[in-house]
Amino acid sequence: MTIMITTVRALSLGNVRLRMLVALFAGLSPAFGQDTPTARWEGRPISRIEFDPPQQPLTLEELNRLLPFKEGSSLTMAEVRQAIQKLYSTGRYSDVSIDASQIDTGQDGTSVALRISTQLNYFISGVNVAGENEPPNRNQLITASKLELGALFVESDLDQAVANMQEKLRANGLYNATIQNRVDRRPETEEANVYFELDPKTRAHFDGAELAGDINRPKESVLRATGWHRGLGPIWLPGWWEVTENRVQTGLERLRKDFQKGDRLEAKVTLDKLDYHSPSNTVTPYLTIDSGPIVEVRTTGTKLSASRLRELVPIYQERSVDRSLLVEGQRNLVEYLRSQGYFDAQVDFTWNDPEPSRSLIEYDIMRGDRHKLKRIEITGNRYFDAATLRERMYLQPASLLRRRYGRYSERLLQQDEQNIADLYRANGFSDVMVTHKVEDDYGGERGSLVVEIQVNEGPQWLVNQLVIEGIPMEEAEYLRSTLRSTEGQPYSAANIAADRDTVLGYYYNNGYPDAQFESSQDPAPVQNRVNLRYVVALGVRQYVRGTLVRGLETTNPPLVASRISLAPGDPISQSRIAQSQQRLYDLGIFSKVQTALQNPEGKEERKYVLFHLDEARKYSFNFGVGAEIARIGGGTTSLDYPAGTTGFSPRLSVGVSRINFMGLGHTVSLQTVASTLRRRALFNYVAPQFKGHESLALTFSALFDDSRDVRTFSARRWEGSVQLAQKVSRANTLQYRYTFRRVTLDPNSLKITPQLIPLLSQPVRVGLIGGSFIQDRRDDPVNSHRGMLNTVDLAYAWKGFASETDFTRLLLRNATYHPLGREIVIARSLQVGYIQRWGGLPDIPLSERFFSGGASTHRAFPDNQAGPRDLITGFPIGGKALLFHSTELRFPLIGDNIGGVLFHDMGNVYSDVTSISFRFHQRNLQDFDYMVHGIGFGIRVRTPVGPIRGDFSFSPNAPRFFGFNGTRDDLLKVPPTQPLCSLQTPSPMCSNQRISWFQFHFSLGQTF
């Protein structure tokens, strides 16, 4: 390079000496230039153009468009060069050359035939690893290979990929692992599918550790801390663990923590090397340990607990001491004190080393008087109301429940001013000024603080005219409807930036990956108005050449193809690629869906879109152990505790599911539960996105259930159903189903009047056609703040559907959620149910009746204890109608994660729809058709899986009823003619019982 620069420099400066030299040698230099291809071929007519090989990755049409010459035109060397450049720029070729040969054309002389010889490039369409012994897992190895999907495949990259993978394997103790590779090439699509076959060999073990540095303890203690030696707690077992990357890092971290105990915050453990011994296949880590000084942190002026100090001063989290961390600690302390009402708090710190191995950090705290942010006033705002501005503010006035002193600090105040100003600026108020005034001891009340935010809005700048250039008129018109900065709208940098994103997003998704956007503005003749000009440079449009799906093993290719919404000839759209990727993930059968453009850097108009899919493991198993503590106690045959007593039921669940059944994307699963209350097995066959329709899901189910969750009886249920679910819109879902079940009740388990046993203990066969409509407009289904949920569930049982009895069952539910301010929510729910018998059996079978009450319906009842009860035994016998209404006031209680609820539940299960009553009082011990009320208080603890709920309820009119004093055998021995538990004639065999006034429910999720 130096030579060139010097020469040109010399020339450009008119260097006389060089020109003299040039002149001197001019006469002596022989001519070598004339005999060039230019001289021989330039200007000759081109009679033929052919490609070698004839099969090219680009179509003839594309090739003709790329070549600057055509048959019949005259040859120029510049065009030959241009042709090579253009062909190479497509990225499709690794080499291009052009040969010429003379063709004798008779009388007219000679013409030239051109042969364009090409060598293909290949692009990575998949990286596959087999034979791995985790760790590292397949994905870690693929990542380590650094071979990117769609990128140009270069042979030398393969060696580097193997080296990278070897390094990853060595880090995991697989020092002798070997990697074989092969590349499957598909010339027709220029794909290179790379396969790595691993032989991991035996994993190396640790064999100790070499320690250096400031250790101050026995070596054995250090080794024990690493966890690299086998052991069971403090017991040292023979042998060393296998080496894995995670184990090495965990060992180092454990050792570091061990050394950092006793305030040696800066203790450092460094891994110098891992020394591998081939004969023994063992590894010795070489560690350097620096214990560091003892770091003591103190406060003066105000006492703070050690745990609070650890929370606020980040040196404990960072395990390092430096000035910036101490300053951050200082800031945190100030913020903490201000959050406690000490708005004038000031904190300073000193840091010194009184001894060589001891650092002392002292935070000097002057917290000042305690204040309370009484009020925030906003003045001068006309364009935005105060509520809108308050939503953007961090400052909060004191409130009884959450922030006793409010939230205030200088920093937060400045941030709020900035946020308000930004909001105004984004809406065209470029001259906005936001200032504040803080008044202490407001109204003579010591420590009372009032903050006044003063807004001086200034004029609003509006867009006078928007001109869009560089794109077709109709597109400009369409885009105009999506832009913020249109005529009459506020003019702001934020709006222009949003418009830029809108415009570029539109074109990126319509095949213009190189689209560019520029904006400029001029003052308009009208005051406070601006003329805007958007210039869009589109660049070359790119289209889909085709889609390449790779990585499928058992999945049906048409299933995948139906999820890809890109077809050859479509403009390349990143959003449609992402959409297709999401739809493939939604199938639930792929663990990884990678997408890429093949030949991303190539300048070609049509590109392949690659989808590389990793199929997820086919089988998954789940196993669970749990227990239920509720009012589920009481003997299975005794008639004690008809309202239940506290009981404990351990539970075991085991499940298996097989996804992507027969490559169709369907799932087969079996879930079993066994507890002292229930044995249940549910088999499901789910065809999601049925027949390629994303909105449809078909489910076949078979259920065996043997339970006594209703205390009155044990039921054994065999059930089969088929359901088609249709998602009509984002909020609305329809479900259509047919259910057939046979339920047998154990006659010996029935705790009802003996005369009814023969009737109600009969096995029942029910065939139902039904449907549900679900409308869910809640903002958050787990913890709703606004919106509503409506469900309608209608089923019809008829002999034509193989039912023994004919009836209709309707269940309606409506729940709405209303925010009060930012954090308080009023939620209410109404449930109405109705069963109408049409024929068949003389009464609605027990198993088909409504049994309700409990944590999610009416908290004044234990589970399934609402409604009519047996007049003698007092056990619930279910009803044919239900009405429940719940109201909840949900509010924050402590901090951000613990909330409280005040609730009122009312309603009951009724013997019939005509018996629904709002009556408060129970008429007598055999009257259950009245409205039971429950009021209470609940606590919600926010967790990642939804709120954990505890509800305590009091019912002023909990039902009373007769219970039978004796065993079931005693009851059966009573002659049918003997009156029992009559209101008129008290019997010693009957006792007055009631559902407890107080109930406690503990569960997961909001009530509704």
Partner: protein, 208 residues
Amino acid sequence: MLARALVAAGLILGWAKAETLDRIAVSVGQDVITESQVLLDLRVAAFLEHKPVDLSGAAKRQSAQRLVDQLLILREAVDSHVTLPATEAAAGLVAPYAAETGYKTDLVRYGISVQDLAAHLLAGLRTLTFTDLRFRPDVQVSPADVRNYYDGLARQPGSAAAPLPSFEESREQIEKLLLEQRVLEALDKWLATVRNAARIRYRDKAFE
């Protein structure tokens, strides 16, 4: 059948006499420098220096490297919106040569056109302009550097025989020289980095 065979034979014979018009010599990412560009560069350089055209493999490779550097510089200039001399500037560069006797004959003898010469000189000027704009502002020469250089010259053997001009007389020249050197060093350093990142691939066949 016979006719087809004859046509095929003709084609084979035809292609046997085929000559490679051009091929890729070096690729720099998605751009290429062809063999004909390398040969042209050598011919123009030889013309400028009034030397025989050196078509050895080493010379070709050196020329290709130079063209790669020019390409990288041009790319960077475009990306960083550096304004380079326009095509019209080439006329001024060619003018001194055009005034020389035998200019046109020499062009023919070396197999180059006026446009080739102009493009060659313009590329050099653009490289120089870019170097000046990009690297010169960051390069500084302190008085101590100038002094050290002068002292170094003074200590060189033989300097006693031919006494150096005084430090004050030489200072400006030394300052210029050091500045040039450091600019070129900065350019070389930058080029080394850019070359590493540019996926440059030489095709041996073009350098045989």
